[in-house]
């Protein structure tokens, strides 16, 4: 159970149960859709950019379509990037990615996902929301999938 406890850390279970910023944002200036075609997980991400920072952010997952890892990751991501500039948000994405690849632990509560790297089949669950954020910030307008991304 020890390694399961490391995967499903208290903070992840908490954010899975009560996701933060779990809302549609009608005022969003950027939107993106993320899909994990392997498991059918889907996320709608709404980002409001005011000047040079993310003033608000929200996400939705259709009923039952998010596992604990993907939902908690989206929730913690929204908390982590709110108020940040797009460049800072992208830097956090990079840090998060590095952690999943076995590198240094990401800052703050994002460190809760360090246990995911021991579960290769779940890494894409953790990165789904971040790929959607990246697409929203790039303003591509195209839905992203965990499969089209060059790496996780």
């Amino acid at each position: 159970m020890t390694d399961l406890g490391e995967l499903y850390q208290q903070v992840i279970l908490d954010h899975n149960r009560s996701p933060r910023n779990f809302k549609r944002l009608d005022s969003a200036t950027r939107r993106a859709e993320g899909n994990n075609p392997l498991c059918g997980d889907r996320i709608q991400l709404y980002v409001q950019l005011d000047g040079d920072h993310i003033s608000d952010i929200g996400f939705q997952m259709p009923q039952g379509s998010g596992c604990a890892i993907s939902k908690a990751s989206a929730s913690l991501m929204t908390e982590a990037v709110k108020g940040k500039t797009p460049a800072d948000a992208e830097a956090l994405f990079q840090a998060f990615r590095d952690m999943l690849a076995g590198g240094a632990t990401a800052p703050g509560k994002l460190a809760a996902f360090s246990g995911v790297r021991a579960f290769p089949s779940r890494i894409k669950c953790a990165s789904l929301a971040w790929h959607a954020l990246h697409a929203a910030l790039q303003n591509t307008g195209d839905p992203v999938t965990t499969e089209s991304a060059k790496d996780f």
């Binding site: 159970m1 390694d3 399961l4 596992c67």
Partner: protein, 409 residues
């Protein structure tokens, strides 16, 4: 009866440990494990008989051809095919269905025609028909299912009023485990003038199948779900249909003569076997069939249905578990969800105890939408599974409940 203890000894992979635990393999609807006899047959083929088939004028090539054609005879007997020539080797069910869609379908389905599938079909028995219908301007009609996971016979009847050219359905549902009344559905479809295609991916491994009793026109199955190698399988067809059909893949083997600008075709079934076939897979499939015949398909079916009954009963005792599919007429497939725990989380937690189950949409997204779920967890049984495996499953599911509730509270 099935002696699981003895059978387990035939499967080298079942001796491996998963996270220090006994491997409890419950994803048999996805693929089965392979007995040593099949593994040995593949090695033996390559060690002793390998050559390209149907063309060599030397002893080795004759041996390879004999082995390949003997496998065809074995498959023909296994399903009681209309004729040996009506057995086309394929890479599996998906290729078999695509062959029918790409050959029979292209030649016989036109603008305004209807093709019927069911809402419980696997994507491999939906998408080829979507592609065909889109190309031809034909209509694809999906028959609804009942609340307890059977084909809705009233809706099936309504679909037949359109006088469809072709009706396709699964003998056994991979997502629900429903055993459909294949002979009855075929009879109804024939009465409406349709040709019938039966997806046998989940029936051939688990039931005694007799295509002449079903009475269908095409029957496709995969070897890898029934102890044989991946990339093995066959399409069983009425010979007169194959004779009339245009080729599917052009290439070597499938021709009679080739001129600069045109060709004539080889006899059936070779007309549909362009290119060097997977001889190793056919040889392995024949050995797998012999293994299953020795056990007796009736005993296999009974064993799995018994395991499914026990699994349904034991899982039902856990508060928050929902089980999908019919109460009766269920093969060894038990799909379930557990409260608001996502099936992928369940599968990860079970894996830590060595229990392998499937989580996801099982390549049946139209069915998942009708069930109102994004995904389910699915346990599916085979000849080497026993009640101990179900106890391991149930214990691991309970553990998942504790992890998510206790730690989350």
């Amino acid at each position: 009866m099935i002696d699981t203890k003895r059978i387990r000894g035939d499967f080298p992979i079942l001796a491996r440990k998963e996270n220090g635990q006994r491997l409890v393999y419950l994803d048999n609807a996805a693929t089965s494990q392979k007995p040593r006899r099949v593994l040995d047959a593949i090695a033996h083929y390559y060690s002793e008989h390998n050559a390209n088939v149907h063309r060599g004028a030397y002893a080795l090539a004759v041996e390879a051809t004999d082995a390949y054609e003997a496998a065809r005879t074995a498959v023909s007997r296994f399903v009681n095919a209309w004729a040996r020539e009506g057995v086309v080797f394929t890479r599996g069910t998906t290729e078999g269905i695509n062959l029918v869609a790409g050959s029979w379908g292209r030649a016989n389905v036109s603008r305004g025609d209807t093709v019927v599938v069911t809402a419980m079909d696997h994507h491999s028995n939906i998408v080829p028909w979507q592609i065909l219908c889109q190309e031809k301007g034909a209509t694809l009609r999906m028959v609804e299912i009942t609340g307890d996971g059977r084909i809705d016979l009233a809706d099936f009847g309504r679909a037949l009023e359109a006088k469809p050219k072709l009706v396709a359905f699964p003998y056994v549902s991979n997502s629900l485990g429903t055993v459909n009344p294949a002979a009855q559905l075929t009879k109804l479809a024939h009465a409406a003038g349709a040709v019938t295609v039966v997806d046998g991916a989940q029936s051939s491994p688990h039931l005694r199948v007799d295509v002449r009793t079903i009475g269908c026109d095409f029957y496709a199955f995969s070897g890898h779900k029934m102890l044989a190698p991946m990339g093995s399988g066959a399409l069983i067809a009425k010979p007169e249909l194959l004779e009339a059909m245009p080729p599917y893949h052009g290439g070597g083997e499938m021709i009679e003569r080739v001129w600069d600008d045109r060709s004539t075709w080889n006899k059936i079934p070779h007309k549909f076997e362009g290119g060097t076939p997977n001889v190793e897979a056919a040889v392995g499939l024949a050995v797998a069939i012999a293994y299953l015949e020795q056990l007796g398909l009736e005993h296999v079916a009974e064993h799995e249905q018994q395991l499914a009954r026990v699994a349904v009963e034991r899982l039902s005792q856990i508060e928050g578990i929902t089980i999908y599919g019919p109460r009766d007429h269920r093969a060894g497939v038990v799909p379930f969800t557990y409260g608001d725990i996502h099936p992928h989380d369940l599968a990860t937690i079970l894996d830590r105890d060595g229990v392998c189950i499937r989580a996801g949409h099982h390549c049946t997204q139209p069915l998942m939408r009708r069930l109102g779920v994004a995904a389910t967890a699915r346990a599916s049984f085979y000849i080497y599974n026993d009640v101990d495996d179900i106890e391991s499953l149930v214990a691991a599911v309970r553990k998942a409940g504790e992890l998510f509730r206790v730690l989350a509270s």
